[in-house]
Amino acid sequence: MASTLLEDNIQVPASSGPTERRHSPVEHLHEAFRAAEVTGSRAVRLREIPYVTMIGLRVDPASAAASALSEVLGAPLPAVCGQTTHGAGHTVLWQGPDEFLVITDDAASPLVDQLTERLGDAPGSVVDLSANRTTLELSGPSARAVLEKSCAVDLHPRAFTPGTAVSTAVGAVPVVLWQTDDAPTYRLLPRSSFADHLGRWLMDGMAEFAAEPLPAHSQSGSDPGWH
């Protein structure tokens, strides 16, 4: 059962113990996500990327400790809201003036230990938050339109570009919303207990794009210009 739940391109580290027995917050919706995929010119696709390693950092960005942590990550800490920085296999998201989220391809344990060691006795914290949130990936030409139905942040490319990540709400669910490319592809990071609702919410939002678009008004041409 477990093997059919996961996309071929999602790598789950092969190991024994708890890793084999864990369940992702929306694994029961993976089949529904596939069924909800819209193809064609108005394509949009939803999938879960489970078990992504996330590490929460709290540190004063002006301190020496912050410099030490960014050396470990190979990336400076982002300075302003929305900014992300990239190191070797790590992405650092701005969460607050002294709060950051590290999303990494690595396993949590050695990296958390390294960061904790470099933080030393300085004020701050390094916490493995991987189980706090899951990752939903919404991509395709209609992805922005799906999100704009229920997200008040300006997602137009003039204001929101690949590499931008903000904490906001989609529908009633608090998420970290991160655009990873200009397909566009968005990653939504809801807390695990809200992931089921958000997944169903997004599938509802995607449904209309499976239908043929309404013909444009004769005077407004093919591009209505209001989006």
Partner: protein
């Protein structure tokens, strides 16, 4: 939809914020010496002006930080926002609102 200009995150939908009451209410310097009436005044009594009011707000769905805002309680216009710890800015005095308009 009202946009509130978070000092850390910029303009965001008001749904992302929670209200924290009057700003700049100092904790008593000598709490042991207050009478019950004075203590109740500190805890429970707040200004309720018609017009500009310095308030605390918290960007709960964004950076999760408290900040202060000056809001016009008549028009709901948020005149300015500023980080915690800053003194209340001197804003332009607004013309006295016409209270008759409220009942009209």
């Amino acid at each position: 939809m009202i946009l509130i200009d978070c000092p850390h995150c910029g303009p965001r939908n008001e749904d992302e914020f929670t209200y924290g009451g009057q700003a700049h209410v100092p904790y008593p310097a000598n709490p042991d010496e207050l009478t019950d009436a004075e203590w109740a005044g500190f805890l429970f009594y707040r200004d309720n002006p018609l017009g500009e009011f310095a308030e605390r707000w918290m960007h709960g769905l964004g950076c999760r930080r408290w900040f202060n805002a000056v809001r016009d309680t008549y028009s709901y216009k948020i005149i300015t926002t500023y980080p915690m710890g800053w003194a209340a800015p001197q804003t332009q005095p607004q013309t006295q609102p016409d209270t008759k308009e409220v009942s009209a």
